[in-house]
């Protein structure tokens, strides 16, 4: 399949040039893999239960027993940070999946059908695309979470959905553009053979062409989702305060700072940074590879 060749090419080309892109990609992939492992293996890596109070004295600074110290109720920050990877990645994956699942088919249909449907869909997508993601996510997250029926998993789901809405247009555009260009080419061929190209044929040609530009978008989606989710929980929308989540911990930890307790907010923030950075690096490196902008290189 073309995509496999594509991946092999990336690795080969990047391996050869020792460029910044290669380094970025490598670092990004390693970090992302580490995060994924952390999330999956959390119960085995974390030394304490992240919710349990008084695992140590409150406000213990970082030490051997508590690598990142403890918070106001004696909860271990290191464990909380590790477990926090779960909600962050879950939101990222779900929102990307959701946006993908809605954006791709819509883009496909829109490109294929054209006409009024296409115009209306594009209009709505453009509107969504330009809108500040946090604002939209805020409104939707509150709307969905408002029942107070709130179990943790449903809150995570709702947050993911809220974030995904702003990403649907990105996938939509990519697929639509691909569909349109494929359609063009096929119609030209079909015009010669006289007959309209069936949907199956179009799909066969679209898939490989769509994968390439879609991947950096997925990575960007991940990065943005982690950042926005942290932002939402920082604002107080969503998860309950004792649940280990990076954004929640920062908003709680802020009040500890004037008392000299910096570790309750510093480490969660650092994690958000690292996690977002990981996926941003991957995304940037891939984009760069696909559209190289290097002086002296002719496309």
């Amino acid at each position: 399949m073309e995509s496999l060749v594509f991946f092999k090419n990336i690795l080969k080309a990047l391996g050869k040039t020792h460029s910044l892109e290669e380094k970025m990609l490598k670092v990004g992939l390693v970090l992302a893999a580490a995060l994924a492992l952390m999330a999956v293996l959390a119960p085995y890596i974390a030394p304490y239960d992240p919710i349990k109070m008084y695992t140590g004295d409150p406000y213990t600074p970082p030490c051997l027993e508590h690598l990142f110290g403890t918070d106001s109720m004696g909860r271990d920050v290191f464990s909380r940070v590790i477990y926090g990877t779960r909600s962050a990645l879950m939101v990222a994956v779900i929102s990307a999946a959701f946006a993908f699942a809605i954006g791709i088919p819509l883009g496909l249909i829109s490109g294929y059908l054209g006409g009024v449907f296409d115009r209306v869909a594009t209009l709505i997508m453009d509107a969504l695309y330009a809108f500040p993601s946090l604002v939209m996510a805020l409104a939707i997250a509150v709307a969905l979470n408002s029942g107070g029926s709130a179990s943790v998993s449903s809150i995570i789901l709702n947050t993911a959905i809220a974030i995904s809405v702003v990403y649907i247009p990105s996938y939509f555009r990519v697929i639509r553009a691909t569909t349109l260009s494929v359609k063009e080419n096929l119609y030209v061929e079909a015009a010669r053979a006289i007959g309209a190209p069936p949907l199956r044929v179009i799909l066969k040609y679209i898939a490989p062409n769509a994968v390439t530009p879609a991947i950096p978008i997925i990575c960007m989606n991940f990065a943005d989702a982690i950042l926005t989710a942290a932002g939402l929980s920082f604002l107080g929308i969503g998860l309950p305060p004792f649940y280990p989540d990076w954004g929640v911990d920062i908003s709680k930890g802020w009040k500890d700072i004037p008392n000299g307790v910096w570790w309750t907010s510093f480490f969660p923030g650092l994690m958000i940074f690292i996690a977002t950075l990981a996926f941003m690096l991957i995304s940037d490196a891939l984009v760069e590879y696909l559209n190289p902008r290097r002086e002296g290189m002719r496309s």
Binding site: M73, P240, N259
Partner: protein, 522 residues
């Protein structure tokens, strides 16, 4: 090109720094800044029901009678004297003469009648305090006004101290309209409102023609600045950006301030109560009193008061606030046994009720995440852990924002939840009647407690004036409270205030109102 940009950036930074530094040259005028995290919402007495709104109104308006500073007793306010007639169903107030509003108009009995009827007609949140007790208002002559009550009510004078009874200027209302009057009110009080930006600040200025010369404000201007959390408020106080920090400094911030030089911290008991509510109407799980008693035993108040609040609160053992020494009865103390004994009792009761390790008592404890401060989640967790220590209880915690919490409360969907109460009028009646009277216990508190003996005692107690007799009836009610356990009283938050040591005149009142007129800055 990039060099040019770099130079531009550096130049800009230098200029901005210079501009910013000029603030150091600023002269300081004699203004007192009060910082708070509790924002006023309405400045119209007819509409205000939140604490801070009333706090401002108490300093901008006067009431016919007010609470004597330092006590919970009633003293003359705009009314020089009063008398009860017709077996306590009528009160006549004799107003002071020559009292002026901020806009120069005069206070008369007509204005009082107008204000009361306006509050009723607008039907704002606090208007029920009028419609509940007052039958009608009559002007007897220019400075005499008569209120007919629906029935004799012993605490009625303390009801009259509430802000909704404060006279407003009819001229001002006519000129500004109700919406603007809510932001730029006109009263008779020692301060007038100069500007109000919701969630940002309120600016007050001394009213030079205030009628009570013994209570003329010492400073010309007071600014109330609203902060988003305790930490920023405390930092502002430390830096001197704010002179007084009032409502609500967190426990940690208060502790930290206690040691700081230049800052004075004061703490006193408040009129607030915090408690657990059992929904006896819509859920069967708590119908068995053994279950409720078991929970009363298993709950650990120390974990909350010492663990979560680090001593900034006090345990309470009745719904009546302990400040009412003449009638407070610590009826729940019998449940507050030494921990292992208490747990044993709880376990016994639960087994009797049919629960076991395999079939534990399962319920959801609801709480609100923002209204009572950020520690509420920790309190909920404390309660959960205390109850689960019995081994026979499983608690599921659910936290909601205040908005969502109110919704659930109104629809009576929560089986067990944490709530708080601050009195509408300063009398034990307000701590027992709404909670335990059969007609209000359900609709208002989602508790649905109903006991005809309690109803009788409550009604009797509010009609008699004699304190000893009232205390007798209230002790009956409180005993039932501990016997039937529809609520579990838990703790009461201390009120506190922190201020810079060059500020004088600060005093924490039992009524929890901070008076601005004595404040001074040296």
């Amino acid at each position: 090109m990039s060099k040019k940009i770099l130079i531009a950036v550096i130049l800009m930074a230098v200029i901005i720094a210079a501009v910013a530094a000029t603030f150091l040259l600023q002269k300081k005028e004699k203004v007192i800044v009060i910082g708070t995290t509790d924002p006023p919402v309405h400045l119209d007495p007819a509409k205000a029901y939140e604490f801070m709104s009333c706090e401002v109104i108490y300093n901008v308006f006067d009431t016919l009678v007010s609470l004597k500073p330092g006590t919970l007793q009633v003293e003359p306010g705009l009314a020089e004297k009063w008398e009860f007639k017709d077996n306590g169903t009528t009160i006549v107030f004799y107003l002071r003469k020559g009292v002026k509003f901020h806009d120069g108009t005069e206070l008369t009995a007509y204005v009082v009648k107008y204000s009361i009827e306006r509050a009723l007609q607008l039907g704002g949140d606090p208007s029920w305090l009028i419609s509940e007790f007052i039958e009608n208002v009559k002007v007897v002559d220019k400075y005499t006004v008569e209120f007919k009550l629906k029935e004799p009510f012993a605490p009625i004078l303390s009801v009259f101290t509430f802000t909704v009874f404060a006279p407003v200027s009819p001229e001002a209302v006519k000129k500004l309209g109700n919406d603007t009057f809510d932001i730029k009110p006109v009263g008779t009080g020692p301060f007038k409102v100069v500007d109000f930006k919701k969630d940002q600040y309120v600016i007050l200025e001394r009213f030079e023609d205030y009628w009570d010369k013994s209570r003329m404000p010492k400073v010309k201007r007071i600014i109330i600045k609203i902060f988003k959390d305790s930490t920023t408020l405390r930092l502002a106080l430390e830096k001197g950006e704010v002179d007084i920090a009032f409502r609500h400094l967190s426990v940690e911030d208060l502790q930290a301030l206690k040691g700081k030089s230049g800052i004075i911290v004061e703490e006193k008991p408040s009129l607030q109560i915090r408690y657990l509510v059992f929904n006896l109407g819509n859920f069967t799980i708590f119908k068995d009193v053994k279950v409720r008693k078991a929970i009363a035993y298993a709950i650990d108040r120390d974990a909350i008061v010492k663990g979560v609040f680090k001593g900034a609160t006090s345990k309470i053992y009745s719904l009546v606030n302990p400040n009412f020494e003449w009638c407070y009865k610590p009826v729940f103390e019998k449940y507050d046994l030494e921990r292992s004994k208490a747990l044993a009792e709880a376990v016994k009761l639960l087994r009797d009720a049919g629960y076991s390790e395999d079939k534990p008592l399962k319920f959801t404890l609801w709480y609100t995440t923002d209204h009572y401060g950020p520690k509420e989640a920790d309190v909920a967790q404390c309660i959960k852990e205390a109850l689960e220590e019995t081994g026979l209880i499983k608690v599921d915690l659910r936290g909601l924002t205040w908005s969502e919490f109110i919704n659930k409360l109104e629809s009576y969907e929560m089986e067990c939840f944490l709530l708080g109460w601050y009195p509408d009028y300063v009398d034990p009646d307000n701590y027992l009647y709404p909670f335990l009277y059969s007609k209000t216990s359900g609709p208002v508190f989602s508790c649905w407690y109903s006991n005809p003996e309690v109803d009788k005692a409550l009604v009797k107690a509010r009609q008699i004036a004699d304190l000893e007799e009232r205390a007798y009836y209230y002790s009956i009610v409180q005993e039932y409270l501990a016997k039937d356990v529809p609520y579990i009283p838990l703790w009461s938050q201390n009120q506190n205030i922190a201020y810079r040591n060059n500020i004088k005149g600060v005093s924490l009142e039992p009524s929890m109102i901070l008076w601005f007129w004595p404040l001074d800055k040296s």
